[in-house]
Amino acid sequence: MIGKALRLAPAVILIAAFSWAAISVAVRSVAEAPPDVKVIRIGHWQLEGGVRDGFNQMGAEFAALPEVIKKYGKVRIVQDAIPEGIYGQWISTQMIAATAPDIVEVGLGLPGPIWLAYQSRYFYPLTDMANAPNPFNAGTDLAGMALKDTMGDGMRSGYQEELQEYTRVPLARFTSRVFYNRDLLKKLTGLSAPPRDFRSFTAVCEQISKAHDPTGQPYVPIASSKYHVGMWIGNLFDPLTYSAVFKADFNRDGFVGNDETFAAIRSGALSFDSKLVRAKYDGLKQMVRYFQAGFTGLTRDEAVFLFAQQRAVFICTGTWDAGSLIQQAEGKFTVGATIYPQPAQNDPEYGSLVFGPNFDPAGQGFPFGITRFSKHPGLARDFLLYLASRAGNARLNQIIGWIPATLGAPLPPLLAGFEPVNTGMYTALNTDLGGQTVVKSQQLVSLLQTDPSYKVDQFLTEFGQFYRSQGVADWEEAQRDWRRAITNNERSLAVMRGEALLRAADKPSDVSWIRYRDYLSHRQLFQDLGHVRQVRMVVNPDATVRAPYAYSPEALARIKADLSHSSATTGPTP
């Protein structure tokens, strides 16, 4: 009898566990979605406490709006907050099983082509929504404006070029800032806020590096890691190369691509010994002296730990981490935020390379789309519009501590006073030609960061020689990539043409044909012609060719004639 019971035990346990699970799921489903309530599920990977609180509060406020009650009755917003590590698998399972939430955060955990395929098959296009006013902006100066025009970047980040449709609405913006331990800064330097210019900032770091804690250990001025060092380079030292635009922007689009950098170096328009190239690496060399030893081998969390342990005064990171930093400092110290300390215009070394503030935009992120599995797509759209409205977006981001995506919504208190800078110096040097040059650059920059005896001069000579000699192979590979891109463009054109023929064969004014012609001209024809011009420049570098931003003789003659004419008609200036 006992033997029989033992033999049946696994099956009994299995059946019991299954029944318990089934009942739990059923009970939870009824609790989440009572029969008279319309439920909107929102799936995302943001496990920070603020985000979940934000959605909970916004959901409750939305459901209580009289117009929502009138239109939809009882509404409830339910969240699926999924850890980053399994978000890709989770979303795939949900999509394939047709059980995906109504609203889904897009972009993490899967390769780009998979997200593209999902957006094409399982998401509603939001182009009509992007082009229509957001009703939740009524009564503000955004009333009547298309949703896309109420967002910081014109909602470009929500547009899927391959699908030629808007598919996502971004709900926050992100940038990076230097955060600091206010109490420790005050204690060690007497300052209540750090200086904003590079020279004074490094002087403060020097002062901090000489101070010791009660156990006799020296303080670290800046907590850093392999994750953080790129932010210092990108936000502080890359913009020092800005003036290369006027020497190397051969196609005059205002930027300097890797091929233009290569052409400029080969033709002699730029050299590794030029002030702007040297400044980038020299500034970095000066700054890394204040990072903790061995930072290149450390991870982001290890640097944050050092900061949270009050062993370091400064740390740079994305504004998405601000809430976590404050949380970790709670009850121990106060966190402050500041901008990256840019060299002043009178800086003895770098001043001549500074023409204004650094370009410091806040990119749009936190993007959400609406899936075709939604039982209430209209309600899902309205909730998304509510979150994207000025008031809704300000409130959501205030709870989370992020920068709002909608125009005119105020910054969270910690970042107030450090608004993103949309007009400023940007990087104009790109030596990443391909595999070999990138690897060599990484090796030598790493040496520059970690070996005090390895000088900037050595780096510039060594990397310069490698770049000039081995760069050709990388450049040639890039040309093959370019030809592959041309074939991919031709595929896109074939699809656009095929769909236009199906949809509006006899209507050349139909938007599908406009898209086709636009793509043909500007993505295929003229990009290819511009590229060919650039290739000629690299193959036959000619230092005698007029610089891209130099006046032609005809231009000088015209300016002179215009000025002579205006002084003749207006008389001499007193």
């Binding site: 689009d253 205002g254 935009p361 007009t423 023929l501 199906l502 012609l529 005809e554 231009a555």
Partner: protein, 303 residues
């Protein structure tokens, strides 16, 4: 009881098979009733996602199921197969040619025949994989033939653009002058088609010939005639506007026009990083004017 449980547990072995069956059935649901036009639409969607086999399957089914009244859809499905052969993973030019030729022979005077004729040349051009294809003359003749055979078609408009672009890329002696002559003649013929691209071609040719003022004037015309896709936030080309401002300033010395263009750039693209360069370039114009005024004043007093 025991027998029943054993049978039950043994039955569990077939669960994976049952699941596979359910998935297979699920994948296929609804498809059999699709109309040929829907199959073609689905084919293009699959093509867009790089799923060429599935795209090919959809186009083939459309060909099989299209009725006599759906001749145009059937030809479009063949056109889909031709494009897969030409630009898909395998890139089989001969097979592509076969499909394109089939369209031309089955419906020689249709618009689709013009697109098919252009498709043959485009496939050759793209497959050549070079900026300066060895058989450039053959390609040149191919594009010219499409233009001559289907003069009023949209495909011929495309062929004209590709032909002139090819000439500019290959850049044989006298080619740029020929481009300027032919494109100017086309614009002067009163055509309203593709004016932005035609002016862009002129601008490129003139710039290559160092005729900078003409290049600038062409660029301004190209921007003025630009066809904007209202749904695409990237359709308004910030780079083209920026370039026009730079050309007005440095090539033409037309500061009034440059200031106007730069102002329009700042207004249209307030968050573009190049706004800072625009500011710098505006300051440079002020400086240049002050410098030249001083020099003119010096010349005046010397006289």
């Amino acid at each position: 009881m025991k027998q029943g449980l054993v049978t039950y547990l043994a039955g569990l072995k077939s669960v994976p098979l049952a699941l596979l069956l359910i998935i297979a059935l699920g994948c296929d649901r609804g498809v059999p009733s699709a109309k040929p036009s829907e199959l073609v639409q689905e084919g293009w969607q699959r093509f867009r996602l790089g799923q060429f086999e599935q795209a090919s399957h959809q186009f083939s089914r459309a060909i099989e199921t299209a009725g006599p009244a759906e001749e145009s859809i059937r030809l479009q499905a063949i056109y889909g197969l031709a494009n897969i052969a030409a630009f898909g993973v395998d890139r089989n030019l001969e097979r592509a040619k076969g499909y394109f030729q089939r369209i031309i022979s089955e419906s020689p005077d249709s618009d689709l025949a013009a697109w098919a004729a252009l498709g043959i040349i485009r496939a050759q051009d793209v497959i050549s994989g070079s900026d300066r294809p060895a058989d450039a003359e053959k390609l040149d003749a191919g594009y010219a033939e499409v233009i001559a055979r289907y003069p009023k078609s949209a495909a011929a408009d495309d062929a004209f653009l590709f032909l002139q672009a090819l000439r500019l890329k290959v850049a044989k002696p006298g080619a740029r002058e020929k481009v300027i002559e032919e494109v100017t003649a086309r614009i002067n013929s009163g055509t309203k088609q593709r004016l932005d691209a035609l002016y862009d071609l002129l601008s490129t040719a003139n710039r290559d010939l160092n005729k900078n003022i003409s290049a600038y004037e062409n660029l301004v015309q190209a921007i003025a005639h630009r066809e904007v896709d209202p749904g695409n936030p990237n359709s308004v080309d910030a780079s083209a506007v920026f370039r026009a401002g730079v050309a007005a300033q440095f090539d033409a010395g037309d500061f009034a026009a440059a200031r106007k263009i730069y102002a329009s750039f700042s207004q249209k693209f307030p968050r573009d990083p190049r706004g800072f360069s625009v500011k710098m370039l505006m300051e440079e114009m002020d400086k240049k004017e002050a410098e030249m005024r001083k020099s003119l004043a010096g010349e005046g007093s010397a006289k």
